[in-house]
């Protein structure tokens, strides 16, 4: 199975995604250059983390116009899976692949640390490998991860079960300290309406080996592989 990882100018987690897929998952991966116009047969597209175009103006605002994004949108429209992580999530929102926007952390500070997430919905091709309500440890590393959308959109996301990850405390409780960036309703990751695009601020590709902090993200990648093979 082939993962196409898009490299925008300024992407810097493309390498991490590559190693997660190739070394830990044992699947194929290749980089797609932002100026390319086709996905070279990728079954799954990863929009990786980083600072595309320096995050200048607004994060994701410039990258969404990269030539490759048309092919990514077409792939998503056909129901192809897209995993949009961190800066990738920001790009996906700017591109309209996902609703809402990601604004500067309420603390105004960049934050990098391990965080606890609750898997809110395992009925998706990204989360089927988890158990419902499972608490996982996955790091965040961002300065602009405060998810916002209008109330109606948030209600719709919740009602459709499209909020798949939520920030929680180590024991699963939600208090103010559990939310690292001020995201509305503690949202850490959401699906699009067709449930084939996942956007999340935490980095599952950094959590695929206990020796570097956590292995809890591996199940996400395994879920994708399982779903595509199924």
């Amino acid at each position: 199975m082939k993962f196409g990882i898009v490299t925008f100018p300024g992407s810097n987690c493309d390498y991490d995604a590559y190693h997660a897929v190739v070394d830990q998952l044992g699947e194929q991966a290749f980089y797609l250059w932002h100026k390319d116009t086709d996905l070279q047969g990728a079954d799954v597209v990863i929009l990786p983390g980083g600072f595309s175009y320096g995050d200048y103006l607004r994060c994701g605002a410039i990258a969404r116009f990269s030539p490759i994004m048309e092919a990514v949108a077409a792939h998503a429209a056909r129901g192809g899976p897209v995993l949009a992580i961190c800066n990738g999530f920001q790009i996906a929102c700017e591109a309209g692949l996902l609703p809402g926007a990601l604004l500067r952390n309420a603390s105004l500070k960049y934050v990098c640390e391990q965080r606890h997430l609750r898997v809110e919905n395992v009925d998706s091709r990204f989360t089927s490998g988890y158990t419902a309500g499972q608490i996982v440890r996955i790091p965040i590393a961002h300065g602009e991860g405060r998810y916002v959308a209008d109330g109606a959109t948030l209600d719709r996301l919740e009602g459709d079960g499209r909020v798949v990850f939520r920030y929680v405390g180590a024991e699963g409780g939600s208090d103010e300290r559990a939310n690292p960036n001020g995201s509305l309703r503690d949202i850490a990751g959401i699906l699009n309406d067709k449930r084939n695009v996942l956007g999340m601020m935490p980095h599952p590709e950094r959590a695929v080996e206990p020796i570097v902090g956590s292995g809890d993200g591996l199940a996400l990648f395994e879920s994708i592989v399982g779903a595509v093979h199924a």
Partner: protein, 588 residues
Amino acid sequence: MPVTPRPGDPKITPALVAEHGITPFEYERLLAMLGREPTFTELGIVSALWSEHCSYKHSRPLLKTLPTEAPWVLQGPGENAGVIAVGDGLAVAFKIESHNHPSAVEPYQGAATGVGGILRDVFTMGARPIALLDSLRFGDLETPRVRYLFAGVVKGIGDYGNCVGIPTVAGEVVFDPAYEGNPLVNAMCVGLLREEELIRAVAEGVGNPIIAVGARTGRDGIHGASFASEDLSEATEAKRPRVQVGDPFTEKLLLEASLELIRSGHIVAIQDMGAAGLTSSSAEMAARGDVGVTIDTLKVPAREEGMTPYELLLSESQERMLVVAKKGHEDDVVAILTKWDLTAAVIGEVIAEPVYRVTEGDRVVAEFPGIRLVTDCPTYEPEARESDEIVRLRATDVHAIAEKAEERDPAWTLAQLLASPTIASKRWVHRQYDTMVRTNTVIGPGGDAAVVRLRGTDKAVALKTDCNGRYCFLDPYVGGMAAVAEAARNVACVGGRPMAITNNLNFGNPKRPEVYFQLREAVRGMGDACRALQTPVTGGNVSLYNENPNGAIYPTPVVGMVGLVDSLDHVTRAGFQAAGHAIVLLGE
């Protein structure tokens, strides 16, 4: 063609010479070298190259005493960064650099551009950066100015490293009134390469084109190098427009493009345009290769109109590199840079004639006889004398100081210690750093040394910066040794074998005997410790004149150490692991 001043150039007067930080003695050397009066452009070039920052004129004789060799050292001092072999055909490049003065004036940009510069020093060796470290000193955290500096510096380091995608994995922060007004901002970068990818910044091959790569040149930071070589004062404040602005996004592109260039085989040498920009990079590359170069300033891509040769040569605009390509490969070089949305322009060539020549179109505006431009700079060994006050302080019997009643309560003492900002957790700092990107950080900040795995092997490097300025103040010889020993202990504690160090000598004004004494003794101590531990010095940086009207900083010879962890099984963490484990105190 003879050298001719440009129309409009100021007349060379003793006052102008002094303004350029050139002493009458040095000016005599310059006259002797040229055999005529310099042009304004030449004066600017010499003022930069003979500044303390570029020439190491007060430290070079001392640095020569440091041990620099071991079988695993592939590149010692004299290059952009030092390089050691770590087995499996892999090598590690590393270097530390200070950005103290710029950070005192504009903490955010000063620290950010410091990180940018040290990254470039490492990737111009052909190494991919894998880790950043810092070493920071500030005054008393209670004052608003110090809080502003501290917050700005930390954000500057974080934003830059985070954006480029290099994890900042270790460092140190110390608060002490001795650094009031003179914060220290040292940044270290560590990179990984295959031994055969090592490239040096040595210009060679007559006819080879010299190419300027990366960002365009603006008027920022002109005379940054000489600015870093004077005391901070009101007058420095007035020099604020010299501040440079960093662009980590362009740096990331430059990093990828440079590594691609180096691996393409189209180039023979590459160097960062750091302090004193185009001037120092071109002159140093020529000197190392003992060749001549000629550069046409009209061909340098400029950000602003009407820039003079003087400005183009001395600008410290960031995110630029100088490349010597193989003749006939110009288009291949341009193609690689274009892919990364960067500019590249041929601005000169390597020539047989042993001269350093700068033209503006047809007019020759500067010409020096070959490498003498770099080698003729005088070195100084000023008088060294320990201050009486320190001798007295050292003689004080600390046991004679009466104990306070509450000090008998260990809980009170512990609380006091933990409340000290220097001892307290630095999570506020490193939480703002991306410590994990590249997914090789086995141990990040918060323990002793950091451990970064070398992907594809079972090995890792152990990294740490260390120094105790107060020890060095009380006894610079022992303090210099202690800095090496502390770094070595930290490296050993995580399972690493100490391999080599880079160092950053942060001191006051060396023309004062008590400061030169500190410098001399600290270097001696550092050298002795390095010999004892077999950790040669592969490079470093010297930052002098860290003084303000209230005096000098503590002598602060920061050590950045690289250790090798032979197997990931050896990695040991700080922190108690499980109930029931025995606690053992080692050492005296």
